[in-house]
């Protein structure tokens, strides 16, 4: 019974003690690292195979269609059919392209999507490497995607791709600032940058305690994954497909996998930072439940992002960059200062957390009020009729 209660950790322990019977110590950790790495590196691929099907079904339902229903029951093998297609498609490299950079970009972007998973805790003590700079690691790896996008856009020697890459970099740079500031707010409350410690600290999920931070992070996360309504970097009505317009076959496939891998990873980070990660009812008695709660919460966040994608129209690029700099950065700075101020008040922790909620909601209300006023003023100045 005890073995079942903490099943995954115990399997790992049994495995380690079995192989350490006939392997030296360095080989044991080497083999374990390799196994963990191979499991984690499959996460973006797994995410693509499942989430593309889910996305097509969800978006289909939102748009009053059925979605894929031909390949297998309910069309669940559609993604596998797509994978086979990508594998056997001819790979076209434009004559004018910068070949080494062109070939390196999909490799880098796929690696970046996988590397995010190293610090994410699936359960109590179940992170592959619970670094004490975990959140900084996530920000650093997230920037790798940006470099790969710029490499892809620049090396294609195509004007659509170049404009797409410039947009991608401008968007990712702009939204990285509010993202970093909201992660810093969480780190400030927790007093640690370890992802494991962030989950342990969430007696009450931070989505309740830090509402403004959550909203800012969610918007920045959607922008960082380049999803609608912030999918300006691949707006097909303006720039065809953006930075990967020249890619075909499996090279395109790696961009696709990285996109869904990033979506899954960002949802996992949202879950870890704001929704209590693997915490849930009965998880302290039976830690093996943790990963199931974790995956369920991730899927819920993914569903929310798909819902947003199916509901909102795409914004214009100047509106999008304006939103990042004129709304999200001031909101997250104000929220950060409020949290820092409350933490220095001589109050019990519970009362401080109540004040965080009050302050966060107030910041959001002021921001929305100012936005509404600016919107009405804009409408009046342009002589538009308000409907």
């Amino acid at each position: 019974m005890y073995y079942i209660q903490d099943l995954f950790v115990n399997i790992a322990r049994s495995w380690t003690s079995w192989i350490s019977g006939f392997l030296p110590l360095w080989a044991v950790s080497g083999v374990n690292y390799l196994i963990m790495a191979v499991i984690l590196v499959m996460m973006p691929v797994l995410a693509t195979l499942t989430l593309t099907w889910m996305e097509r079904k969800v978006i289909g339902r939102i748009q009053n269609r059925i979605g894929p229903n031909r390949v297998g029951p309910f069309g669940i093998f559609q993604a596998f059919a797509d994978a086979v297609k990508m594998l056997v498609k001819e790979d076209v490299i434009p004559t004018d392209a910068d070949r080494p950079v062109f070939n390196l970009a999909p490799i880098l972007i796929a690696a970046g999507a996988a590397l995010l998973w190293a610090v994410i805790p699936f359960g109590r003590g179940m992170a592959a490497a619970d670094l004490n700079v975990g959140v900084l690691y996530i920000i650093a790896i997230g920037s790798m995607t940006m470099i790969a996008m710029l490499m892809a856009g620049w090396s294609s020697n195509n004007k659509y791709a170049l404009i797409g890459a410039f947009r991608a970099v401008a968007q990712l740079l702009s939204y990285e600032v509010p993202m970093v500031l909201s992660i810093a707010t969480v780190a400030l409350v927790v007093g640690s940058m370890r992802m494991g410690a962030v989950v342990e600290a969430q007696v009450v999920p931070f989505v309740v305690v830090l509402p403004a931070t959550f909203v800012v992070y969610l918007m920045a996360g959607i922008a960082e994954t380049g999803r609608s309504p912030f999918d300006l970097l691949e707006a097909e009505s303006e720039i065809v497909a953006g930075y990967f317009v020249e890619y075909s076959g499996l090279k395109f496939g790696w961009f696709y996998i990285a996109e869904y891998g990033n979506l899954f990873a960002i949802s996992a980070i949202v879950t870890t930072l704001f929704l209590g990660g693997w915490r849930g009812p009965g998880v302290s008695a039976v830690p093996a439940l943790g990963p199931f709660y974790f995956i369920a919460k991730i899927v819920a966040v993914v569903f929310l992002m798909m819902w947003i994608r199916g509901t909102w129209p795409r914004v214009r690029i100047d509106q999008m960059l304006g939103l990042a700099w004129k709304v999200l950065v001031p909101v997250s700075l104000a929220n950060l200062l409020w949290v820092a101020f409350v933490m220095k008040l001589p109050l019990p922790t519970a009362l401080q957390w109540v004040l965080f909620v009050v302050g966060g909601l107030a910041v959001l209300a002021v921001a929305l009020g100012l936005l509404g006023r600016a919107g009405r003023r804009h409408v009046a100045s342009k002589g538009m009729v308000q409907t």
Partner: protein, 117 residues
Amino acid sequence: MPSQYAFIGVFLLVALALPIIGLVLAWLIRPKKPNFAKNATYECGMETIGDSWVQFKAQYYLYALIFVVFDVEAVFIFPWAVAYGKLGLYALVEMVLFILILLGGLLYAWRKKALDW
């Protein structure tokens, strides 16, 4: 602690290896029939005029400049946030001043219409 970074190193190698393995596999089984028209730069039905490696709208450059300021800020905010519980009131005052100075920069850029198109 070094063992965790050893794992990150192994993971980096595996994460780079998987796409390479996939691309090599695809290279083995996919057809290879290039021709001149197929390898031309993609464009809406006409031939591309000129190179794409040209100077481009500088608007994005301004965003990058402001970003550099705020990214450096992040470098200071993270250690401050982690050590905040152990620091006195001084830390709060210091950070308020620091953020106000940065906000001044942001407001300057805003007034100068660097955030507009």
